[in-house]
Symmetry: C2
Subunit: 322 residues, 2 copies
Amino acid sequence: MAEGQRVVVGMDVGATKVLAGYVDEAGRVLRQARSPMDRSNQDAALWSIEAALEALMSAPWEGPAPLAVGFGVVGQTDPATATWVRAMNIPIHTSVDMTARFTARYGLPAAVDNDVHAATLAELRWGAGRGAREFIYLNVGTGVAAGLVCNGQLVRGAANYAGELGHMAVAGEDILCPCGRRGCLEPVASGGGMIQRARDLLPTYPDSALGRLPEGMPLDAHAIFTYAEAGDPLAQRLASEAVEALGKALVNLINLLNPEIIVVGGGVFADGWLLPRLRAVVERDALSGALRTLRGIHLSTLQPDLVGLLGAAVLAWDRIAS
Amino acid sequence: MAEGQRVVVGMDVGATKVLAGYVDEAGRVLRQARSPMDRSNQDAALWSIEAALEALMSAPWEGPAPLAVGFGVVGQTDPATATWVRAMNIPIHTSVDMTARFTARYGLPAAVDNDVHAATLAELRWGAGRGAREFIYLNVGTGVAAGLVCNGQLVRGAANYAGELGHMAVAGEDILCPCGRRGCLEPVASGGGMIQRARDLLPTYPDSALGRLPEGMPLDAHAIFTYAEAGDPLAQRLASEAVEALGKALVNLINLLNPEIIVVGGGVFADGWLLPRLRAVVERDALSGALRTLRGIHLSTLQPDLVGLLGAAVLAWDRIAS
């Protein structure tokens, strides 16, 4: 343990598990503890978080005492008051004061923000967005979301709601989104949306390989990209719709915000198929004035299963710095 | 003249005229001078600006000496170095160091930015956006542009190119933009675009009143809105396309940036027809999470012919403060 080293606790609170860890100022995860997330009700969910935190804090540890705890969570948060306002995937119906509920007993300040804001901060501090002042993080997993950094600061918006890219109107008017509008990005380009759309369209493409995938290959974005490459017409249609819709959304963002760097992450990028195709749409369609200063669209270089934890740690570091 | 009053010079550099003025810290324009803009070549254009500045500075004046000069110009600028990089509407092909060219002789620092960024700052400092930290200024005149304020700061982007809303893909794929792409906002919703589109579609609507407007009523957004209201099918089509496309763009911005206040300005809003219809689209389509904290979409309360001058003055005030 280096002399003078300082650490915080990062808490990555997800729908299936809670990951807790000590993180130093260089973004090194020095120790981790993990608990399953019990989503049967709000109390059970909060106990799951407490269990992970307690498991980390009570284990023998020769390093320095942590200085703060940051929570990256799903749902709506109020970072100014360290409050988890509500969530859907985890049953949080009554707002939670994170300091009172989790960290006061340790004498530590708490910070909270949503998972995408947290991941954006991790990419900006320790990832491929390091040092950028104008930066966009695009996450395409089950859903689609963006984190925006302007003038070196995360854009949170008036209600910490900024970055809601999933309902940007960029797709065909024939596609109805669960939100009730037509043309939203998410049903066409998210992992969850692509699966749903494949199911909806399979009856129209009875010969598609997506209807009889090999044992062990689930119907997901990876399967769609794989069979698109192999020439399957339904897979090609779904993949191409996803590329064009995501490309349009990214071009809109580039023209609007004139970023230096874009970092992409999330499961839909994992197999490497999507990113070069997205880059091609951006180069074809973005305005040259905005494109000239874009240094690249990079895949996240942070370890995918640690991005959430690292982001939560940045929240904690920022809490102390402010 | 109040004791201790301080002033700067604002320079609103437009394609037809240059407006120079002394502006105090409360946004009062204490004196103005105006020169026509000679666009025959770069030298002539720069001389026009110099003439307006000299006319202001050389006239007898009992107020305090100005502290800085801010220029709001069309085209591409680099605010960090006070450089006017290039412009199209005014023939600026070689970049201009505004300090060396205009203000060093008076011993004054110079600041420069584009007209939309300047107007955004004026609305934020002295207009309907006063005090907002999360703010959008939407200008619809000959073109369409936006000014974005996040975390209390104007978003300039990596090359001072941020706010390019005119080419957001929100319209039908059948509409080709001069930029070469399809579906851009500007050809459908800007004043210039609406006029062009009316001309293109008139042969298809030979009975439209837009083809035989009364003496003294030019074919413009105001005429289109007026005859849409009177039931003219072409005018209704154009007006409704403009409302829907602008609405989509504004909804995208609201979902993405979660602003507290939106201020609209520019000639297309002048007759009052557009704004209530735009508000209705926003209320229908924006995500409730982002809408909850939106306090309003307001028409600019600044005098339309002074917004540019006031914005230029904010640039000068910011130059001194920094």
